[in-house]
C-alpha cells in the first residue's frame, strides 16, 4: 500500500503543521512555558516525524502489502446503513425510542436481505422491547420519548 501510505503521511504532515500553528493561540504566560499549548505541540512534532517516516518507508518500498480490500458494493451498503442509522436518530426524537428502534431494525434487516418475515418481525420487536424495558424499568435510565414510546 505504497500510495496509501504516502497519502496518509502527507495528510499527517498537514495535520501536525496545522495543530502546531493552531495551538499557539493557547500560549499563556505560565512558569517555564509549560502551558496549554506545550503538550499538543510536542504531539504535533511527534506526528510530523512519524508522518515523514511513513512517507520515507513507503518510498523505500517497505510498505506492508494491502491485505483485504474494501468491497465497493459492500461499501455502498455500509453508507446506506449509516444513512438509515442517522434517520433512526431523527425518528427517535419523533416516535420515541422503542417504536423507532423497531422501525430501524426492521428496515436494516430487510435492507441486509434477511429472509423470513416472521423471524425478522419477532427479532425486531423482541430486541426493541427488551432494550427499552431494561433501561426504563431495570436501570431506570430515561430514553428519548416521542409521540409513541
Amino acid at each position: 500500500m505504497k500510495k496509501e501510505d504516502i497519502g496518509t503521511g502527507i495528510g499527517l504532515l498537514i495535520l501536525s503543521t496545522w495543530l502546531f500553528w493552531y495551538v499557539g493561540r493557547y500560549r499563556v504566560k505560565e512558569i517555564y512555558g509549560y502551558g496549554p499549548d506545550f503538550f499538543p505541540r510536542v504531539l504535533a512534532v511527534m506526528m510530523a516525524v512519524l508522518g515523514l517516516s511513513l512517507i520515507i518507508n513507503a518510498l523505500l518500498g517497505s510498505s506492508l502489502k494491502m491485505g483485504d480490500r474494501i468491497d465497493p458494493k459492500g461499501f455502498v451498503r455500509l453508507l446506506i446503513s449509516i444513512v438509515i442509522c442517522i434517520g433512526y436518530l431523527f425518528l427517535t426524537k419523533l416516535l420515541g425510542f422503542a417504536t423507532a428502534t423497531f422501525v430501524f431494525l426492521f428496515i436494516l434487516m430487510t435492507f441486509l436481505k434477511q429472509k423470513g418475515l416472521f423471524m425478522r418481525l419477532c427479532s425486531c420487536l423482541g430486541t426493541a422491547l427488551t432494550v427499552w424495558a431494561i433501561f426504563r424499568y431495570f436501570l431506570i435510565i430515561p430514553l428519548p420519548e416521542g409521540w409513541l414510546f
Partner: protein, 508 residues
C-alpha cells in the same frame, strides 16, 4: 492485605444472589461474544458498560469481570467447532481443539477447555487477590515524575499491540494522544481545540470513543462483508470430560495457569501471547511433543489455562498502578473511572470497599463460568448458527444506545459514528485501534504529570531519570519496547518467509 475486608467482601459477593445474577449475566454475555468470531471481549465489555450506569458500582464491575472471563473462554468454543477462534486468545486452541472436533470429539474438547479455563482463571484471580495489595503499597510513594514514567511505561505497550507495523501503531497512539488534548486543559482550565462547541469542552467522552473504535468499526466491516461471508453450521455432543482425563492434564494446567498469570501481568502481553506461550511450553516439556497438533487434550488444556490465567494477571497492573495490561483491561479501567474510581495505588487506600469485592467477583466469575460453560455448551454452540443479518443490526443498535446513554447526547452518538468510520478505514490501511485506546486512557496522566514534573524541576527533564522509581520505569519501558520491536520484527520475517514459500509452491 486487610484479611477482614477481604473475607467480608467474599461474604458479601458470594452469598448475595443478586451479585450472582449479575455475574451470570456477564459470563453468559461474555461467552456469547466470545463464541461469535469477529466479536472480541474488548467490544463486549465496551457495549456492556452503559448497562452498568444505573447499577451499584460493585455489581456493575463484577458483571464486566464476568464478561471478561467468559469472553476469553467463549473463543475456544468456535475454535473447536468451526476452526475459527472466536477471540484472538483462542487461536492456539484451534491447533488441537479443532482437530478433535473434526474427529467427532468436539464435546470432550469443549469440556476440557471449560475446566482448564476455570482452573487458569481461578489461579489468576487468586494471585491477583494476594499480590495486588503488596504492589499498591509500594506505588503509594509515587509523585508526578513516577506517574509520568509509569504512563510512559504503559504507552510502551503500543509497540506490542501494533500488529504488523510498529510505525502505524505509533501513529495511532499519537493520534489518540491528540484526541485527549480536546477540551479543558487539566492544569490551567483553558479550553483547547473545541472550535466553540460546548459539547467538546469536556473532551471526547471515553465510552463513545471506545464504542466507535471497537463496536461500530466491526459492525461496519460486518455490514460490508455480510453477503459474502460463508455460513458455517455447528453441532455438539457429550461435554463433561472423565476424571481420568482431567487427572492426565492437571500438571499441564497448573504450569500453564501460573505462566499465563505472570505473562498477563506484564503490560502489553495479553491473553493471546499467554495462550501461545503456554501451548509452546506444554509441547516442549511433553514426553510426546509430536502428538501436539494431532488433537490431544493437553493441547486444549494448555492454551485455555494460560489465556484465562492471564485475565487475572492483566488486572494486576491495571488495579495497582493504573496501567492496563491489555485492551480489555484498558476498557475495564475506563469503566472504573466512569464510576468515579481512579485505578492505581490510591484505589486500595481510599476504596477498599470496591477493590476487595472485585477480587471476590473475579473468583465468583470463574465458578459461574464453569457451571454455565458445561451446562450451556450446546446452547452456545448453536449461537454460531444465528443469522448474521439479524445479529449485525442488533449489535449496531447496541452501539447507538451505548454511545447515547453516557450523557443522553445525540452529539456523542455522532462522535462515536465518526470515530467508527475512521477506525473502519484504519483497519483496512493497517493502523491498529488498540494504541488509540491506550492513549485515551493514559494521555491525561502523561500530560498532567509531565508538566507538573517539569514545573517542579524548573524545566529540567533530568528529573525523570534521577529519581530511582521513575528511572526504573523509564528504562524497563524502553527495554520492553526494544525487545518487543525485535520480537515483532522476527515474527514478520518468519511470516515473510512463509509467504515466499507459499508463492514458490504456487509457481511450481
Amino acid at each position: 492485605m486487610q484479611f477482614d475486608l477481604l473475607l467480608a467482601a467474599f461474604g458479601k459477593v458470594m452469598l448475595d444472589p443478586i451479585n450472582f445474577f449479575f455475574v451470570f449475566i456477564g459470563v453468559t454475555s461474555g461467552i456469547i461474544v466470545g463464541v461469535l468470531p469477529g466479536l472480541t471481549a474488548t467490544m463486549g465489555v465496551a457495549l456492556l458498560i452503559p448497562f452498568t450506569f444505573g447499577l451499584d458500582p460493585v455489581r456493575g464491575l463484577i458483571m464486566l469481570l464476568g464478561l471478561f472471563s467468559g469472553g476469553i473462554y467463549g473463543g475456544s468454543i468456535s475454535a473447536i467447532l468451526i476452526g475459527v477462534p472466536g477471540t484472538p486468545s483462542a487461536a492456539a486452541t484451534v491447533l488441537d481443539g479443532h482437530v478433535m472436533g473434526k474427529r467427532g470429539l468436539a464435546g470432550k474438547a469443549i469440556g476440557m477447555a471449560t475446566i482448564a479455563s476455570f482452573f487458569g482463571g481461578t489461579t489468576g484471580a487468586l494471585i491477583m487477590t494476594f499480590l495486588s495489595p503488596q504492589i499498591a503499597k509500594i506505588a503509594l510513594k509515587f509523585g508526578p515524575p513516577e506517574f509520568f514514567a509509569l504512563a510512559f511505561f504503559g504507552l510502551g505497550i503500543i509497540i506490542t499491540v501494533s500488529g504488523k507495523s510498529i510505525l502505524k501503531g505509533l501513529i495511532s497512539g499519537v493520534f489518540g494522544l491528540m484526541i485527549t488534548t480536546i477540551g479543558f486543559d487539566p492544569l490551567s482550565g483553558c479550553p483547547r481545540l473545541t472550535f466553540g462547541s460546548l459539547e467538546l469542552l469536556g473532551g471526547i467522552t471515553f465510552i463513545p470513543a471506545l464504542i466507535g473504535l471497537f463496536g461500530y468499526s466491526q459492525v461496519f466491516q460486518g455490514i460490508e462483508k455480510i453477503l459474502t461471508l460463508p455460513f458455517v453450521k455447528s453441532e455438539l455432543k457429550n461435554v463433561i470430560p472423565k476424571l481420568k482425563e482431567i487427572k492426565g492434564v492437571i500438571k499441564t494446567m497448573v504450569k500453564s495457569a501460573l505462566m499465563g498469570t505472570f505473562i498477563g501481568a506484564v503490560p502489553g502481553t495479553g491473553c493471546d501471547i499467554a495462550a501461545f506461550v503456554s501451548y509452546g511450553e506444554a509441547r516442549r516439556s511433553s514426553k510426546y511433543p509430536e502428538k501436539f497438533g494431532t488433537g490431544i487434550l493437553e493441547g486444549v488444556a494448555a492454551p485455555e489455562a494460560g489465556n484465562n490465567g492471564a485475565t487475572g494477571g492483566a488486572m494486576i497492573p491495571m488495579l495497582t498502578l493504573g496501567v492496563p495490561g491489555d485492551a480489555v483491561t484498558a476498557v475495564l479501567m475506563g469503566a472504573l473511572t466512569i464510576h468515579n474510581f481512579q485505578p492505581g495505588p490510591l484505589l486500595f487506600r481510599d476504596h477498599p470497599e470496591v477493590v476487595y469485592p472485585i477480587f471476590a467477583g473475579m473468583i465468583l466469575a470463574q465458578f459461574v463460568m464453569l457451571g454455565v460453560g458445561l451446562g450451556g455448551a450446546r446452547f452456545f454452540a448453536s449461537i454460531i448458527n444465528i443469522d448474521r443479518r439479524i445479529l449485525t443490526p442488533i449489535i449496531f443498535l447496541l452501539c447507538v444506545v451505548g454511545s447515547y446513554v453516557m450523557r443522553f447526547s445525540f452529539f456523542d452518538v455522532g462522535v462515536s459514528l465518526i470515530i467508527g468510520i475512521i477506525a473502519y478505514f484504519m483497519n483496512y490501511y493497517g493502523f491498529p485501534g488498540s494504541p488509540i485506546l491506550l492513549a485515551l486512557i493514559l494521555g491525561p496522566m502523561v500530560e498532567q504529570n509531565m508538566r507538573r514534573s517539569l514545573i517542579i524541576s524548573h524545566g529540567d527533564p533530568l528529573i525523570f531519570v534521577t529519581r530511582p522509581i521513575s528511572a526504573a520505569f523509564i528504562f524497563i519501558g524502553i527495554f520492553i519496547m526494544i525487545t518487543s520491536y525485535y520480537r515483532i520484527k522476527r515474527a514478520m520475517e518468519r511470516e515473510g518467509k512463509k509467504d515466499l514459500m507459499a508463492e514458490k509452491e504456487k509457481v511450481d
